[in-house]
Subunit: 551 residues, 2 copies
């Protein structure tokens, strides 16, 4: 109903209606909502157009910067959203879209999300969130226990303590990582004597007080790009984010880490944090966390684990050993909107020591009064929604063993896909899956043969052509709209560390079947054969040339 009976008018009465009278059962919006609730995949399948429209075309529908002077009926606007927005959105829950970290969601989260949004709590303080505050503290406690496994006495002492916080619920992994490094920086440059600490006096005075020439955070060269942002924001500078080389499995080399720390120290540069990655974004690799922990302990560095992706693996008793050593970290980032299968916007950072966050604690008169249990006194963000409710509900409805099954099947599906790729004569696996990510590329059988005879120059040339082919196939596959893999650039050992463009797949969606995986390869093969004649001729010619040398 609302403003839908006649031409939309602007009066205070009609405005009050939109706050008091819900859309009627026959309204367009209610019907669309019902269809979506009945069968999301069917709804999205019907409403998202398969073939990609060029972005420039889509932009035409979003070109006016004028705020409308004329109201629209809810039903009219809903139709408009379906036509212009929903139809050209991305079917992130499709089982054949395996190129990103956004997977299908359990159905129950949709009505629960609506309840969460209708309640419109603000978690910054108790006054606007009441029971949501202990709920969020419990969720943080659960994740803390998943990582650190402290006993019940520990959680009953700290979980709801007003002056402490076991972590922070954030909008995502980036804010979680920034929060961890913020805490680490402030603890490294804490108050001492007449110096009041970096939080009060700032970085310049802190450096002078401590006599440092620079600060450094060390991470493998496969670390997430957001860490550079963190280093910039925190005043360390991007050059203070020091990349450590990785081995042939994309894992940080502890020896190289140790040497770099010593080198930095000899230059009076303070390495205040080391980040271990538990599930790199590109290959899903997990750093040797236990070995990093030892290095950190030796040098009194804050040890942070970026497990935004891989953290959920701790739910699996079968595979949690892959994250061995995470329990030694001072802080850990986990994104619930990744492998805990809740909607976008649920990052978390957990701190081993309940006192760690005191270095960033803040208070204000009108809220966050000292001694209150307001969550806002330990978060980078201010106002925040009740997202923690969705994590809480998922952990109760799915339960730990349910998550274990989801994690196990995703890892095992990745292993299956790796085997499948290796069986193809015209594909090459680039990185073996550790978690549920792997990378590969198309490489004609003839090229594989030619490579055994190619000299360095020819290998470079072949690699460049294959890079171009991979890029082309990935783009065409996306545009066709039947399936989607992403791409990235790696420097694999088997390709002499040359820049290598690869397909990247993430197999988290439980609805992705083995058949779908076979289809993805078949589609890529078809694109190569039917749509890339010029590139294939060039690749064939070069391969023949190399092969002919041997005769």
């Amino acid at each position: 109903m609302a403003m839908e009976q006649k031409i939309a008018d602007v009066s205070f009465e009609s405005l009050l209606k939109i706050f008091t009278i819900p859309e009627g059962p026959d309204s367009t919006l209610t019907q669309i909502e019902a269809k979506l609730s009945q069968n999301l995949n069917k709804f999205l399948g019907e409403h998202i157009v398969a073939e990609e429209k060029p972005l420039r075309e889509i932009e035409k529908d979003f070109s006016s910067a004028r705020i409308p002077e004329q109201p629209e009926f809810v039903s009219d606007h809903t139709e408009h959203l379906l036509d212009t927005l929903v139809s050209h959105s991305v079917h992130t829950s499709s089982p054949s879209f395996i190129g990103h970290m956004t997977s299908a969601l359990p159905y129950f989260l949709m009505p629960l999300s609506k309840i969460m949004i209708a309640l419109n709590q603000n978690l910054v303080k108790i006054e606007t969130s009441k029971a949501f505050t202990p709920l969020e503290r419990q969720v943080l406690g659960m994740l803390h226990r998943l990582i650190y496994g402290q006993d019940d006495a520990f959680y009953s002492q700290w979980m709801h303590s007003a002056e402490h916080s076991l972590g922070a619920f954030c909008s995502g992994g980036t804010i979680a990582n920034i929060t961890a490094l913020w805490v680490a920086r402030n603890n490294a440059l804490r108050a001492e004597g007449t110096f009041q600490g970096v939080e009060k006096e700032g970085l310049f005075k802190a450096m002078k007080h401590y006599g440092y020439e620079g600060l450094a955070v060390l991470v493998s060269e496969r670390g997430h790009y957001s860490l550079k942002k963190a280093a910039d924001v925190l005043g360390i500078g991007q050059s203070g984010l020091v990349a450590i080389k990785t081995d042939e499995n994309n894992r940080i080399c502890p020896q190289a880490l140790e040497e770099k720390i010593q080198e930095l120290k000899s230059q009076r540069i303070k390495p205040f944090a080391v980040i271990g990655v538990a599930g790199t974004t590109e290959t899903g690799s997990v750093d040797p966390l236990r070995a990093i922990a030892q290095v950190c302990q030796r040098h009194a560095c804050h040890f942070h684990v970026d497990a935004a992706w891989g953290g959920a693996t701790l739910m699996s008793n079968k595979y949690r050993h892959l994250l061995d050593g995470a329990e030694l970290a001072d802080s850990v980032t986990i994104d619930a909107h990744k492998q805990l299968y809740v909607p976008m916007g649920a990052g978390m950072v957990l701190f081993k020591d309940p006192n760690a966050m005191s270095s960033i604690e803040h208070h204000a008169q009108y809220i966050l009064r000292k001694g209150s249990k307001d969550l806002g006194s330990h978060t980078l963000e201010g106002s925040r929604s009740g997202m923690a409710m969705l994590v809480y509900a998922s952990m109760h409805i799915i339960s730990r063993p349910g998550y274990e099954l989801l994690i196990n099947q995703s890892i095992e599906k990745a292993k299956y896909f790796a085997t499948l790729i290796k069986q193809q004569e015209d594909f090459e696996l680039i990185s073996e899956p550790e978690l549920c990510l792997l990378t590969y590329r198309y490489i004609p059988a003839k090229v594989k043969q030619a490579l055994t005879l190619a000299n360095d120059e020819e290998r470079v040339e072949l690699n460049e052509l294959l890079n171009e082919l991979t890029k082309f196939v990935q783009k065409r596959q996306r545009e066709t709209g039947k399936s989607f893999v992403s791409r990235t650039r790696l420097n694999p050992a088997q390709w002499s560390r040359m820049d290598t463009i690869v397909f990247r797949v993430v197999l988290a969606n439980p609805l992705t079947s083995n058949d779908i995986l076979a289809c993805v390869l078949q589609q890529q093969r078809q694109i190569v054969q039917q749509q890339a004649p010029n590139l294939m001729v060039e690749i064939g010619r070069l391969s023949d040339q190399i092969l002919s040398k041997s005769h």
Copy 2:
């Protein structure tokens, strides 16, 4: 249905069901959702218990840090959430809860939110958001035009430009303010000669290169607490956030600002940004933005306006003059989840100059490639949801004149309430409303009389008793659960700048009627009379004592 037919089991088949089979029409969750959709206020009124349960009691329901080993049926868990969480949440949309900035939401946003969550887009990049990217860019363009009013040519040139961004959509005003100051800091300490800029080399080298002894951000003493957090995170230090005194209307004194800047400069401290507040959190006051802009121009400071609360006033042709000078700001923060009436999680920062954000631009191999239109290259956050869709829909369905009505009625309701308070012989208005916020307190008629005769010492004593009374009344009113105002501490001129505890109300909810306002006062009066006998006796005795002196 899902796992609801028998005892909840853990098998991959039952897990697949939660991803593929929606809750049935008779399921508890569907029914709860339906009730909530039919009449939100009734639903909340029935399910949120009125009388407040002590937090310690609520915490008992959220005390285990163990992730359950046994799955729960969706319906069982939904009942559990109703009993333990919803029942003890805060009725933020209640028209008699006028103590915080969270108001009622238009109905159409609830089903739209569900669609947004079901689509589960990730705005960090085009690949996972497609049409949502131009939509968000348009929303930023609309807010930019609302503030800066550039012509159509401007927006068609910049709004969708890959290398530019008119602002950033954030989880809230805190991140928006941090983003603005991050940009300002990086522009102030930009690359020059062999120095590569603060973003690359960090703050310590930047300070040495520029020869500064410190950095400063200036803001009125009524600035939001999050700015201290920002100063800490950005490495400036909380002491670099310099508070400038305000006049009797809680507005910054431009003369004091000018003098402070000169003083800082003479100490080789660089004042790189000044923040004008357009709607302080405590009193809704708006700084003299035009005068601040002149000071900033004189000293080449970045001028940021924190209009998280007041920005929506620009929608009102009648009242937008209250923010006169906002268009001179280099950046402006606006929270759509405040007076644009969308759910929690929709902050924005807009930059006048489309090139401003290049100082924080970042790229990565696998996403945010240079030349792409990925929004993630200009945001502090990484993965983000499609919240911008809700702002977009609201602006189309409510339209600019609709927002104007909402803004006008809220300002005029505050003026009405101020008049009402002044008419009471036992209340005192502390701050006049500029926007829709005001502060006041209970003060017995006899005290008003006594004050005319009291000496300094007696005024201090009376003030302390009134502070205690205000605190008591606010707490009891909240606990009773019928209505809610918040409280804060001010230093009003009429109370000789003494610490003064006041009631604070925010009149944004369009459902709050004049009757409700009268009731709120009546309830407070009742609490004083019926529940605060000891305090009232003490206040009465002191007043009598003062009054007796005159005889």
